[in-house]
């Protein structure tokens, strides 16, 4: 009887212990989960984010308008809730696009040394360009749209991913088991995907969280400048952008989306830091 029921408490303890040692991952994920739920159920908990209401322009936060209204009488609360969709979508998309592209280029560079020399010079050049300016240049030349914004934010993030993946591949490449695989005639594609790729995953996941956070900030920054997400879509940056000329009399238009933005980025960074510490115990012990 006891022999059967024993494993359960051990498993639970281990899980509790994991949470106790990684509180940041738990807190960060909880905040992100809550934000994701808000984004999904937006149509049920918020009014029309685009609804003009000239009678209620620049209203202070009140019972009727939780976060106040903007200069067109649009409800800031509804806009902020809908804005979560854009920020999360952009963050996740950029993280996926940039890490996927970075992974591909990084593995190829680490594996084929001749490709490496050329590609890394290109990466150095791209890295020298400030990310926001690179995104700006791309957006200036193409018609604005959410997909273009995602691509424009992804490109400057790629070199850092490439460097990370490449360094891991270079480390692994020299190990005897890869030599053994080459000697036994394993095809390059199999070596790369089955023997090298898994080693890059842990640092890549951590990097992806930082890419995600930085992408959300860049999208908000571009929209704040008026050149990111098209202005008719309520993104946090766009809401803050509309509040720019009125912030002395109605600071809430900038304040609420700004705080949501900060909380989101904070949550992602907490998850990233937590993952880094639990995946790389060497750094964890030092901090």
């Amino acid at each position: 009887m006891t022999a059967i029921s024993e494993p359960a408490p051990v498993a639970r303890n281990r899980r509790l212990e994991w949470i106790r040692y990684n509180p940041t991952i738990v807190i960060g994920s909880a905040i992100l989960a809550a934000l994701a739920v808000l984004a999904v159920i937006a149509p049920w908990i918020a009014d029309d984010p685009l609804g003009f209401d000239p009678l209620n322009r620049l209203k202070k936060p009140s019972a009727e308008f939780t976060f106040g209204t903007d200069q067109f009488g649009r409800d800031v609360y509804s806009r902020v809730i809908y804005g979560a969709r854009i920020s999360l979508a952009v963050g996740v998309s950029v993280a996926v696009v940039a890490t996927a592209a970075g992974l591909l280029i990084g593995v190829l560079c680490g594996y084929y040394r001749r490709v490496d020399a050329v590609v890394m010079r290109v990466m150095d050049g791209v890295m020298a360009i400030p990310p926001i300016l690179l995104a700006v240049a791309l957006i200036t030349l193409m018609q604005a749209g959410l997909a273009i914004v995602i691509v424009a934010i992804s490109i400057p993030e790629i070199p850092r991913v490439v460097r990370l993946v490449r360094s891991v591949v270079l480390q692994v490449r020299g190990l005897p088991y890869i030599e053994a695989a080459i000697a036994s005639g394993t095809r390059s594609r199999i070596i790369m995907t089955r023997h090298i790729l898994p080693n890059t995953l842990a640092p890549l996941i951590v990097q992806a969280t930082y890419v995600c956070a930085s992408a959300i900030l860049t999208e908000a920054g571009l929209s704040f400048l008026g050149i990111g997400t098209p202005p008719e879509i309520p993104s946090w940056g766009n809401i803050m952008s509309t509040g720019r000329s009125f912030f002395q009399i109605s600071p809430w238009i900038i304040f609420f989306p700004g705080v949501m933005l900060a909380v989101t980025v904070l949550a992602i960074n907490l998850v990233g830091d937590g993952l880094r510490d639990s995946l790389d115990p060497r750094i964890a012990r030092r901090l």
Binding site: V126, A128, P130, P131, L225, R286
Partner: protein, 313 residues
């Protein structure tokens, strides 16, 4: 040493060539007709044609590239489509506010972050450490435009200590300039402070666990001297490195900060150029900012020999 500097200077050439090639190809490889996009939705075919000719898009691509690189080597960064002024002239007009802002931000960030990082490492695992690190985590998450407006709201609107927005040039007196860049420098410096404080703490912790620190402590070196002369100087290399990495944050942040604080610098030049889709200006600014970043990184590499004489080139 001289040979090393020359070698490093030469190594910046391929990077800058890639940057130049990149901005050049961007104009040509983007799908659609850039001339039409730049001209805007309600431009006539003649206007589009005019812009195409101004950008040189009507010539063969190799000819365009040769002309472009030749101009760059002569210090010609191109000509604005709308004002017809050389990009370099426009940049010179807007340089001072950005330079003052960048330098103040750097000074503010280092002046606050390094002592905080040292303090956190010295008092590791105490409340002080937790507070400093908490501040650092927060600093990474707060967007510069939110911090900017919060600072304006508290210090300019509520307390009325500092001007709300705008920039006073140096020629009108140092005090006015200092007052006008105080808030932007803090807003822009926040993420920088977070970065530097974090790396200072980590680097100091590593150094403080070394044997020679214990020896110094044992022979009775006073704590301030121990922390600063013995530990901080040896912990400096990662700190200086991260200050260089932060240059990217600084440049990206300048564009946003100048918009929040209405400062007529290079950031505003960028934003104005974007809104008018004046691509030559953006192209020129990218070359300039990338060049600055490459040079700063070079200077940082050279500064290593000062902090760590074991590094010889």
């Amino acid at each position: 040493m001289t040979a090393y500097i020359i070698r490093r200077l030469l190594a910046t050439i391929p990077v800058m060539i890639v940057v130049a090639l990149f901005v050049f190809l961007l104009l040509h490889l983007t799908p659609g007709d850039p001339a039409a996009v730049i001209a805007g939705d309600d431009a006539s075919p003649a206007e589009i044609d005019g812009i195409r000719r101004k950008l040189g898009l009507d010539r063969p691509i190799w000819e365009q590239f040769v002309i472009y690189v030749g101009n760059l080597l002569n210090g010609d960064l191109g000509t604005s489509i709308f004002s017809n002024l050389p990009v370099l002239t426009l940049v010179k007009q807007r340089l001072e506010p950005t330079l003052v802002l960048a330098v103040s931000t750097l000074v503010v960030a280092v002046a606050f972050a390094v002592p905080l990082g040292v303090l956190a490492a010295w008092k590791a695992r105490t409340l002080i450490d937790r507070v400093v690190m908490g501040f650092s985590v927060l600093g990474f998450a707060l967007p510069v435009f939110l911090i900017g407006y919060l600072l304006i709201y508290v210090f300019a609107i509520e307390l009325r200590w500092l001007p709300v927005q705008g920039y006073k040039p140096l020629s009108q007196g140092l005090v006015g300039t200092a007052r006008s860049v105080a808030l932007p420098a803090f807003a822009l410096g926040m993420i920088y402070m977070a970065l530097i404080a974090r790396i200072t703490r980590a680097s100091m912790l590593e150094v403080l666990s070394e044997d020679y620190i214990r020896t110094a402590r044992a022979k009775g070196v006073a704590t301030p001297s121990l922390l600063l002369r013995h530990a901080l100087k040896n912990a400096a290399v990662p700190i200086v490195t991260v200050i260089g990495i932060g240059m990217t944050l600084l440049i990206s942040g300048v564009v946003l900060t100048e918009t929040v604080f209405n400062i007529p610098g290079l950031g505003r030049l960028t934003v104005d150029a974007i809104l008018k889709r004046d691509y030559p200006i953006i192209q020129g600014l990218i070359i300039i900012f990338a060049g600055v970043k490459v040079l700063v990184n070079l200077m940082i590499d050279i500064s290593y020999t000062f902090f760590d004489p074991r590094i010889r080139y």
